[in-house]
Structure formats: structure tokens, C-alpha cells
């Protein structure tokens, strides 16, 4: 990434308005910082607010309304509160927590570069790009498991083992569903995966063939299992194991842990949108107009906004399902992943392969 003069870096140079004389690692660092500070963190704050308001609306409540207009500054208030509570240094460090911290940080920052955020904002666009975010999800699950096991209490052990079991179970159907899209698009490059879809919903992978619709549903559900998000959060259940792995975290560590949970949720939603829901594709005429005008930055911004809009809708959809439905038991979750999601994902893979092999297409309905 830092040695070869990669073609995908060119768009970033243009985007930052820097000359190509600057060393490439500077670009990479700038790109990561940019993604982190201007995409991930604001998205986290926005989602935390939207989640609260949306859940409140569903549950006939008001939600945050004290911090700022309509409670808009609630995320900032939360952050400040978590920051002022406790400290990372003053309490005795446990070795297991240090391991967790390092693993968690790895998961949080290593996949920033892989995150597809627009046609011009692809830092790593290799043949295997689409598989890289799994690294983050799996490492985060590993970190969460270690956190639970290191807690040295029965609820922590249960939480850790449950997280490990359901992540393993959920990864298989998720990977198969991903392969379905790859078969459809002919590549696992972000650019190819997104390029196979257009602005109109009919050109999205989701609707381009019925097996991909199945794959989409499988991908979302197995994603919820891998992320251990509600209602598949047996490892973090508040009732029987009072929060499981995270029950002893507080203050900044809790904030860090929560941010990790948000990050994997966000990452998963972004890649779902890119894989199935048309990614960042804008209307073709607009794109060509902007390209002719050489307005790369405007184009990147519009693409990013469009992608984020879809991502947030998808995340709100998942929150909707999570708030309304009861939590599943962890043996039911693994059962569901192995016995329902996996067969359906394999069925989708076979179907998609045949569909693509025989060259069937819906054709545009108009």
C-alpha cells in the first residue's frame, strides 16, 4: 500500500489537492485521518442521536430533548460524561484488558483504509477488498470474547463464549452471501462491485435477480449475528448476565467499547449498501457532467452523502427490527445461522451462479 505507486491513490491526490511529490505514506495517513474524523466519528454521533430519537418515536416516548434544540447535542453530552468518568491510567491495569485494548484498536483502525466511501475515495481496491472488512468484524468479536473471558466472572465467560459461538456461526452465511454478489459482479473489487449497479433501484444487486434478494436478507441477518447487535445479542444480554462482557467497563473504556460496537455496525451497513443497494451510484448524467467539469471533490462529496443517506436508512431499519423483537437465545441464534441462513445462502449461491452462467437478465422494466 505504501510502496507501489498504485493507481487508486491518484484520485485521493486529486481529492486532497496535493502534488504527487509528497511521500505516499503521508497520503495514506491523511486519508485515514480524513475518513476517521470526517466520516466515522460524525456518523457515530449522528447515529447515536438518531437511534435514541427513532427508538423513542417507536415506543411512544419523547427521547432526548434537553441538550440543545430537540436534544441535538445529546451525543456530545454523552461523550463528555464518558470522558470525565474514570481514567485509563489511574486504575491497576490488567493484562487481559491491555490485550483487549490492543485488539479492539486494531479492529477499529485497521479497516478504515478498506472502507468504500465513493468512486474516488477507495484507498485499497484490490481483488480481495470485499473480504477485508470481515477482518474487522472478526477481530472485534475476538476482542469482545477476550474482554469477556478476561473478566474472570461467570457472566463474563458466558458473554465471551456466546459472542465467539455466534460470530463463527454468522460468518459462514455472510461470506457465502458475499460470494453471491462477487459472482454477480464478476469481481470482489469495490469499484467493480459498485460499478455493476446503477442509480436506479432496478439496477441494484438486490433486485437484479431473486437469489441475490435472498443473499441480501441472509447478509443482513448474519451481519446482525456477527456484530452481536440486538435482537441477536445473547452475549451482551442485560437480563441474565447483566451486560456480559461489558459489565465491568465504565468511563472512557466503555466509550471506547461502545464506539467499537458502533464502528462494526457502521462498517457492515456501508458494505451492505455497496454490495446490494447500489453503493454510491449517482445518476449517470450527473456523474458525467461533474467529470467533464473536473469537479472530483464535488463528485466525491455527493457520492459520499448519497452513500451515507442509504447507510443510515439501512441502520435505522436494523434498529427498528432490533427494538421491536425479543432477544433470541444464543443456541437459537447459532441454530438459525447454521440451519436456516447457511442453507439459504448456499441456495442463493447456486442460483446466482446458474443465473449468471445462463446469462439471464430481467432487463429494465421500462
Amino acid at each position: 500500500m505504501m510502496t507501489a505507486s498504485n493507481s487508486w491513490m491518484v484520485s485521493w491526490w486529486e481529492g486532497f489537492g496535493l502534488s504527487s511529490d509528497v511521500p505516499q505514506w503521508v497520503f495514506a495517513l491523511l486519508a485515514l485521518l480524513f475518513t476517521y474524523c470526517f466520516v466515522v466519528v460524525p456518523a457515530g454521533a449522528a447515529l447515536s442521536f438518531l437511534d435514541r430519537k427513532f427508538s423513542a418515536d417507536l415506543q411512544a416516548r419523547v427521547g432526548p430533548n434537553q441538550a440543545g434544540p430537540a436534544g441535538l447535542f445529546q451525543p456530545i453530552a454523552d461523550l463528555l460524561k464518558l470522558l470525565q468518568k474514570g481514567s485509563l491510567t489511574k486504575r491497576p491495569q490488567k493484562a487481559s484488558e491491555n490485550i483487549w485494548l490492543s485488539v479492539h484498536s486494531m479492529a477499529l483502525y485497521s479497516t478504515l483504509a478498506v472502507m468504500p466511501l465513493g468512486s474516488a475515495a477507495l484507498l485499497v481496491d484490490t481483488e480481495m477488498s470485499a473480504f477485508l472488512p470481515f477482518w474487522s468484524a472478526l477481530v472485534l468479536a475476538l476482542g469482545t470474547m477476550l474482554l469477556g473471558l478476561g473478566q474472570n466472572s461467570v457472566p463474563g465467560w458466558f458473554g465471551g463464549i456466546r459472542i465467539a459461538a455466534q460470530t463463527l456461526a454468522g460468518s459462514f452465511p455472510a461470506l457465502i452471501a458475499l460470494i453471491c454478489v462477487g459472482v454477480h459482479a464478476g469481481s470482489f473489487r469495490w469499484s467493480a462491485l459498485a460499478g455493476a449497479q446503477g442509480f436506479s433501484p432496478w439496477s441494484w444487486a438486490l433486485f437484479s435477480n431473486p437469489f441475490l434478494t435472498i443473499a441480501f436478507l441472509v447478509f443482513i441477518m448474519s451481519g446482525m449475528i456477527v456484530m452481536a447487535s440486538a435482537p441477536f445479542d445473547g452475549g451482551l444480554a442485560l437480563t441474565d448476565i447483566h451486560g456480559g462482557v461489558a459489565s465491568h467497563l465504565y468511563g472512557r473504556r466503555l466509550g471506547y467499547y461502545r464506539f467499537g460496537r458502533f464502528y462494526v455496525f457502521f462498517l457492515w451497513s456501508v458494505i451492505t449498501v455497496v454490495l446490494f443497494l447500489g453503493g454510491w451510484a449517482l445518476p449517470g448524467r450527473l456523474v458525467s457532467l461533474l467529470r467533464e467539469g473536473e469537479a472530483v471533490r464535488v463528485l466525491s462529496f455527493l457520492e459520499l452523502s448519497w452513500l451515507m443517506a442509504k447507510t443510515f436508512l439501512l441502520m435505522l431499519f436494523m434498529i427498528w427490527v432490533a427494538r421491536v423483537n425479543p432477544r433470541s437465545r444464543v443456541d437459537q441464534i447459532t441454530d438459525f445461522a447454521w440451519k436456516v441462513l447457511s442453507p439459504f445462502s448456499l441456495f442463493a449461491l447456486v442460483g446466482t451462479s446458474l443465473w449468471v452462467g445462463w446469462g439471464i437478465g430481467w432487463g429494465a422494466p421500462w
Binding site: 417507536l58 415506543q59 445473547g234 444480554a237 447483566h242 423483537n325 433470541s328
Partner: protein
């Protein structure tokens, strides 16, 4: 085959884990302690320890005059305070040989059935909380609030009513109370459909509740269980039916029995459904009662500092929202009660926990505890 003589149980034999939950834990219905032996996530042995909420209620009742007895009975089970008051008043009335005027009886019956609905709605909330269904929790609590508002309208308090008196009720119902009862009944009827759509028939909830921790008829007899838990197991016993009080014999209602819709008779799902059906039955009772509420006095005689009960004793039982609630009052003709004793349903239901939990997964433990509708305040008293 290597493992031909071994099954996985012996092959992967692991040590049992010991885990003590409590006295304060979000999965418990109140302060109590569970001593668990776990094989993996499966409960092998479960012991219950109670008494953390012991307030010496029965002893305290003896230390104060007769009028204070109702106030203490309020705190027997603060969540459904009417039943404690009702059973105490009935027992004292039996000793003194007085009966409440008909109007007072109807007002008592109205309050008791409203309390039953409120208690069962609270049960739904705890159940939804145990399975982690947030939205239902908020919806149901919102509607329970309507019933608490009714209590506040007629008695002046939401939980500790202190409204029943020996020989009647403290004051007459306020204007518009009857209409508001009907309004609330209608509202809850509409809302129950919504709850069913969102929760009762939800597949995840069915999966969580069906076949989990069934109670057998033997277990019911062994523990002396009563109320909805026993009826869910198929034991047709309801004090309102078998030993009617307050004029329940004149009313047309049924005491629903478990039907084994979750696959096994008396499982968590049956226990949940039977309470939903009881809410419907209670609303039927309310509708019948408000039409024939008689005129007349509401109190036999005011109860003051010098109130005395003739020497004697009485045992009275009623059907509270949790089961058979009995009260034994002994009077020696003085200004204070000689002995007050309660037979509470929750203690019997609590005794079933060690019998039905082995084989249950740890994740289902909160669900099982919630489904028994335990009132720890009542059990420890």
C-alpha cells in the same frame, strides 16, 4: 467406532460451575438469591434463598391499632395493594360479624379486578423485559398507567391505596369513575390486539417461551401453588369460583385453564397466555359489575382510634392476581390485633423454582422467573 460406547455427555464431561445470582440482579423479580450449579449453560441445580425483603410485616401489624392494619396490609404486596387490604378487611369483618354494604362490596370488587388487570399488565412488562423486547415494555407500562390513574382518582393514591375499611370503603366513588372504568376497558381491549400482534404471536417470543420449564400437576400439588400458575398447569382451582366472596358467584366469567399451546402443558407460554386471558375475563367482570352497581351507604361505621374487634379468629382466602391469598386474624378483644398471618401465593410459587429450573438454560432463567410472577415483597413480608 471409537465413541461407540460413549455418548457426548460422558465424553465431554466438564466440571460444574457454581454461580450465585443476587440478592440484587436485573433478572430477579426482587431481592432474592439463586445458587446455581451449571453444566455449561444448562442449570443442573438451583437453590433459592429468600428473606432479603423481610420487614416483619405481621409483627408490625400487631404493634399498632386496628385502623393501621389496613395500611400495613397495603404493603404486603405493594404492586397490587388492593388484595392485601381486601383479605384483611374480609377477615376482620368475619370476626366482627359485619358485612360491608352492597355498594361497598361492588366498589371493592371493581378495585380488585382493576388491580388484577394492573398486576397482569405488570407481569407482561416483566416478561417483555426478560426476553428483551423494549418496545412492548413501554407500551404496556403506558396503559397500566391508566389503571393507576383510576386508583388515584378514586382513592387518592396510585399504589398504597388505604381505601378499604372494616365494614366498607373509606369514601364513595367519585363522579365519572364508572365511565372511566369502561373507557379504560375499551382502551385495553384495543391495545391487547396490538400487544398480540407485536409480542404474543412473535416467532422469537414463541421460541423463547414454548416448552420452557413446564410445571406439572404434581409440582403444583407438592408446592401448594395456586393462581394463574396452577391453572396454566391444568389445575382448575380459582377461589373466585370455588369459594366465592364479594358476590363473584353472581357474575358470569370463566377461569381460563392452560391449553398447552406451546407444546407442553404449563410451560412459560401457557403461563403467559393464561394471564392475557384473565385480563379479558377481568374486563368482562368489570363490564358486568358497573351496570349493576347498587345505591346505598358505603361504610358500616367509621373506624377510629378506639375501634375494637370482638375476641375471635377468622381465616379468609381470596384470589389475588398471583394466586390464593389467605389471611388469618386473631383478635383478643383489645385495641390491637392479637395475631395477623398471611398465606401468600408467591412463596409457594417460589418453591417451584428449584423444581422446574433444572435443564433450563441460563438465558431462560429470567424468563422462567418472570413467568412465575413472583412478588418478593409478598413472599418475604
Amino acid at each position: 467406532m471409537i465413541g461407540s460406547g460413549l455418548n457426548s455427555q460422558t465424553f465431554f464431561k466438564t466440571d460444574l460451575t457454581t454461580w450465585e445470582i443476587g440478592p440484587y440482579h436485573s433478572s430477579l423479580p426482587g431481592p432474592m438469591r439463586l445458587k446455581l450449579k451449571l453444566d455449561g449453560e444448562i442449570v443442573v441445580k438451583c437453590e433459592v434463598e429468600t428473606g432479603f425483603l423481610h420487614r416483619g410485616l405481621e409483627k408490625a401489624s400487631e404493634l399498632h391499632g386496628w385502623p393501621s392494619l389496613v395500611v400495613y396490609a397495603d404493603h404486603l404486596d405493594p404492586e397490587v395493594a388492593v388484595f392485601g387490604e381486601l383479605v384483611t378487611c374480609l377477615a376482620v369483618e368475619e370476626i366482627s360479624g359485619i358485612t360491608a354494604p352492597p355498594r361497598a362490596q361492588v366498589i371493592r370488587l371493581l378495585l380488585a379486578e382493576l388491580a388484577r388487570i394492573s398486576g397482569h399488565l405488570a407481569f407482561m412488562v416483566r416478561m417483555a423485559k426478560a426476553v428483551g423486547s423494549e418496545t412492548v415494555t413501554h407500551y404496556v407500562l403506558r396503559d397500566r398507567e391508566k389503571i393507576l390513574d383510576l386508583f388515584e382518582l378514586v382513592t387518592g393514591a396510585r399504589f398504597s391505596l388505604n381505601f378499604l375499611r372494616f365494614g366498607g370503603v373509606r369514601s364513595d366513588v367519585t363522579d365519572g369513575f364508572i365511565e372511566r372504568v369502561l373507557e379504560v376497558c375499551e382502551l385495553i381491549r384495543v391495545r391487547m390486539k396490538e400487544y398480540n400482534d407485536i409480542f404474543t404471536f412473535n416467532y422469537s417470543f414463541l421460541q423463547r417461551s414454548s416448552g420452557v420449564a413446564p410445571i406439572s400437576k404434581d409440582c403444583v400439588r407438592f408446592c401448594g401453588m395456586s393462581g394463574p400458575n396452577a391453572r396454566a398447569a391444568g389445575v382448575a382451582f380459582d377461589v373466585r369460583k370455588d369459594a366465592p366472596y364479594l358476590g363473584y358467584s353472581n357474575l358470569d366469567f370463566i377461569a381460563p385453564l392452560g391449553r398447552g399451546e406451546g407444546g407442553v402443558l404449563g410451560d412459560v407460554h401457557d403461563r403467559f397466555l393464561i394471564r392475557l386471558r384473565e385480563i379479558n375475563e377481568s374486563m368482562e367482570i368489570l363490564k358486568q359489575v358497573v351496570e349493576r352497581i347498587p345505591d346505598g351507604p358505603f361504610l358500616h361505621a367509621p373506624v377510629g382510634n378506639d375501634y375494637k374487634v370482638p375476641a375471635g379468629e377468622a381465616y379468609v382466602r381470596i384470589e389475588s392476581s398471583r394466586g390464593l391469598l389467605g389471611c388469618h386474624v386473631v383478635s383478643d378483644g383489645k385495641l390491637k390485633p392479637g395475631r395477623v398471618q398471611y398465606r401468600v401465593p408467591s412463596l409457594a410459587n417460589l418453591m417451584a423454582v428449584p423444581l422446574i429450573t433444572p435443564g433450563v438454560r441460563v438465558e431462560d432463567l429470567p424468563v422462567v422467573l418472570a413467568s412465575l410472577d413472583l412478588g418478593i415483597a409478598e413472599a418475604d413480608r
